[in-house]
Assembly symmetry: C2
Homo-oligomer: 131 residues x 2
DNA sequence: CTTGAGCTTCCAGTGACTGGAACCCCTATA
DNA sequence: TATAGGGGTTCCAGTCACTGGAAGCTCAAG
């Protein structure tokens, strides 16, 4: 398979696939004309990567997960540890965003949003004490 | 004030303050020895930036907000529009993270996490249909 | 033979910093 | 007066995970 077909079937853009090769996540062979020649296993790996990335795993996590996937002597505890670590990072991010959301939505609600200049959003940012 | 004092009082690291000057968010004067000389208004701006960044506004949003803050003929509707736009981006991010969280927490719960190799997390990533 | 799609490499840019090197300035102390 | 240190300065490179673009090669169709 050429890169275009693999891109289509895996849902990962050609540019990204080349990048993944660059950083050693996939190692397609080469045809005589210099084109990358992907096998089914390469496609499989890329699909795996696509799903892992969609779950928010970092590239380094993906590398680890791919390694575990291909290691038949892995222990599922290793996989679970990576996933739990990532899950807790997701939880932190959600918490942080919800805190922002909380503050910001109050400010937005308090701003009358008309043609006058006074604005509780700017007041808050400038450090004024809430009344 | 030198950069160290401003950093301390605004809570923004010196490196970041220099970066903000680089991109034109603050324009401190210079002392004869070449040191940046910050006035109270500069400190004020940096504190404003710190709060806006803490609410997740992008640097470009911050630039806009600072501009509105200093523009006495602003309309609060302009500020509110920026904030609402940002709020909806926050909401999207939260939704995306929660979707990841949902999938991932199910997978983590399903993985026994022991010394055996079989693992529903890897099965899912590799594209197996859930049974 | 030309056209156009698809492939190749390499370089640069994204956002918002952050680390580090190499150097200057200022004050205090031996 | 020499020196040590803790400021400050600039500039360059790296982060993360791509993405865009330029220049050039390959291949199939008309």
């Amino acid at each position: 398979m050429n890169i275009g077909e693999v891109a289509e079937r895996s849902g990962i853009p050609p540019k990204t696939i080349r990048y993944y090769e660059d950083i050693g996540l996939v190692r397609p062979q080469r045809s005589e004309n210099g084109y990358r020649a992907f096998r089914e296993t390469d496609l499989h790996k890329l699909t795996f990567l696509g799903r892992a990335r969609a779950l928010g795993f970092s590239i380094e996590d993906c590398r680890t997960l791919l390694g575990l996937y291909e290691d038949e002597s892995r222990e599922s505890a290793q996989v679970k540890a990576v996933a739990e670590e990532h899950l807790s990072e997701i939880d932190s991010k959600i918490a942080q965003l919800q805190a922002m959301r909380q503050t910001l939505s109050h400010l937005v609600a308090a701003c009358h949003g008309d043609d006058r200049p006074d604005c509780p959003i700017l007041s808050d940012l400038s450090g004024a004490q809430a009344g």
